[in-house]
Subunit: 446 residues, 2 copies
Amino acid sequence: MASQKPKIAFLGLGAMGFGMATNLVKLSHPVTGFDVWAPTLQRFSAAGGTPSTTPRECVRDAPYVVFMVATAAQIMSALFEGEDAAVKELKQGASLMLCSTGPPEYVPLIQKKLKELGRGDVLVVDAPVSGGTIRAANGTLSIFAAGEEKALKAADPILKDMAGNNLWIIPGGHGAGTNVKMVHQVLAGIHIVMTSEAMGFVAKLGLPSKSAFEALKASEGSSWMFENRTPHMLVEDKTVYSALNIIVKDVGIVTAGGRSAHFPLFLSSAAEQVLASSVSAGLGLVDDANLVGLYLPQDPTAVLKLASSAESLSIEKLKLVEKAMAGVHLAAAAEAMCLGAKVGLDSKTMFAIISTAAGASKMFVEKAPMWLSGEWTSGKTIDDVVAELTEAIEEANKLKYPLNLAGTALQLFQLASLKGFGKDPDVAIARIWDGPKGPLFPRKSS
Amino acid sequence: MASQKPKIAFLGLGAMGFGMATNLVKLSHPVTGFDVWAPTLQRFSAAGGTPSTTPRECVRDAPYVVFMVATAAQIMSALFEGEDAAVKELKQGASLMLCSTGPPEYVPLIQKKLKELGRGDVLVVDAPVSGGTIRAANGTLSIFAAGEEKALKAADPILKDMAGNNLWIIPGGHGAGTNVKMVHQVLAGIHIVMTSEAMGFVAKLGLPSKSAFEALKASEGSSWMFENRTPHMLVEDKTVYSALNIIVKDVGIVTAGGRSAHFPLFLSSAAEQVLASSVSAGLGLVDDANLVGLYLPQDPTAVLKLASSAESLSIEKLKLVEKAMAGVHLAAAAEAMCLGAKVGLDSKTMFAIISTAAGASKMFVEKAPMWLSGEWTSGKTIDDVVAELTEAIEEANKLKYPLNLAGTALQLFQLASLKGFGKDPDVAIARIWDGPKGPLFPRKSS
């Protein structure tokens, strides 16, 4: 029984791409897959896909082409470079979905280049994704799609096959989807680093790591990334769910975006430096949960060892970790929402997207609505957060444990206090990013 | 021929204390020395001092008592704790000089405790020092002396024996000397970390490290610490000139002071986290020039190896390092001067002290006078510095080299730009610390 569904070419069968492509196979699409890593092609064949060894061969006769390679540079190469380039065989009117995460300027560049080559017929959708390997494999990824209406309409059925109800159409044309992803990665990047900073702190405090994780997961310090990554630290598991180099690249796109927008991103920058240290230390290709080892250089597997600890959990010490996490996540939420507003994204859409995606945190979900409504109903003040972060920092100082992100967050809250917002609700942290034209998120006068 | 000079008790014969005490011996004082480390006492004896094995024995019959132990806690212990405590044998009307670096509140606490014990006769001078081991040994240390006039007068000859022309009398009573030292250590701490960050960057860029050092030393990126510490990296030398733990403690006092003053210290905090990482990595007891190894985890001696490199020096690459240093040092100068103003120190005195001490940098000496005069005559703008730091950061990102301090500095300059100071002279960076009452260092309208 031949499939009635249209053919899809899928380029880039990494941890995310493999799940996305095999999901399309399961939905009865004929899928031709390309990857430079031969063993992956064999696995893809075993999963019912058709392997191909060049981009050109891969896209032949395919009305839909999905790019999920690691970088924008790899898309450029697969699409345009040499005799095996995909552009040489792209079907007339083919619909391209660019799902890799790249800098905001790369999608318009690809459209331009296609036109220069006389392939203005090709439809291009800026379609970065988020959600991790499990949602990739079951077709429920968050996809932030932007482009011309005709292109969006053409790609719609395939985007829905990959995203289900998590398909977001972002107004603003090419680059807008990538901007959403960039703002999302502000949070993803900070939260991944904070997960290691927090669990390293747990270990340095001598807490049983498994029960600490369970308690923190239920606390106001939790985040999607914390829940997702920490389990990898608690068991002996060398699987690379997401290579550290991926988030390094994404945070690099974030800070480059901050520089382009002339916008300070203190926590993203601090996260970037921690990540650079980890790559320097040789961790680029391992799972990003291994970042915790950088925080515990003399005992990189301490979190794993303490997973079987029979110690009872000191709630007092655990509170220090929770406060560090909550303070960082609140400042990160402000950093992300302010950057989004600065680059012209609709804040309500940003909130709706992030709050259900991998960039979510308890703090983000609780506090970001206050920026949107202007109703600042937090029970805590800026100075309360200063006091909480101070407790965490002072304990870490005693232990000579580095709190790179929490230390940065404390300076931000102290700056807000210095500016006269100390007695204001904690969400006044966003006012650090006030420009000469006033606040990005003004408070409603009550 | 018996000495006619009065007896001095000297407690704490570490790298600094040993030089200070033997300098007093050379000036013909009878000096009794105490230290917990027996080999040091033997060396002290060989140098003409009289060793003693308890604080109590050390201070017997001495009209002058100098404390140069590592921490305020060690002073408290040597002075007050147990049967061997110095307080049990302090001479009537003895003059105490507290030269260790401690938190601002500890000197008043010691005076109070002496009074409670009925020893209100003892005179106490808050007298922290700066300048390194060479100046310690030749009696030209910078000393920041504060206290009651009677106490200052009594201690004056001995303070002059230790400081020569570098004795500073700081108004404000006990704690004021320590505050000066704290502000000085903002710069010392940042510059020590930046020295390693810069030389690690030199190595990562593959530059010949010795000629890079010579060129940077002559550039606007230089600092006293850079000139002083880098030579230790360029030769095989395991001597501990200043243990990393010392600057860790000092920076801890700085950030605690920032928290007490509710004042954000972004660069000091970033430096503190780098230093905490180095202690975690086991570097606490080695010379602080070894911090460069933390920046080069896969080749900690790269700077040493490249000292004999025959490569020619790429001026273009060197400029990146220079720009990173200059940007960090300018922001550090602002952070220090603003903290000094915030804690009530006289800014002109602060400038005079720091510009001739170990906290000096080319940037500090060039730019700080503009804050004092209000005449902002820099040729560069805030946005110029943003552009320079951006170049450095983007190159470091490509190399996955962490620029912890330069990354932080870039965010500060971007924040200043966001606040509307982008086209102002670069010294407008100080306006980040504007409070609700306006700028700490206003610009004179021209």
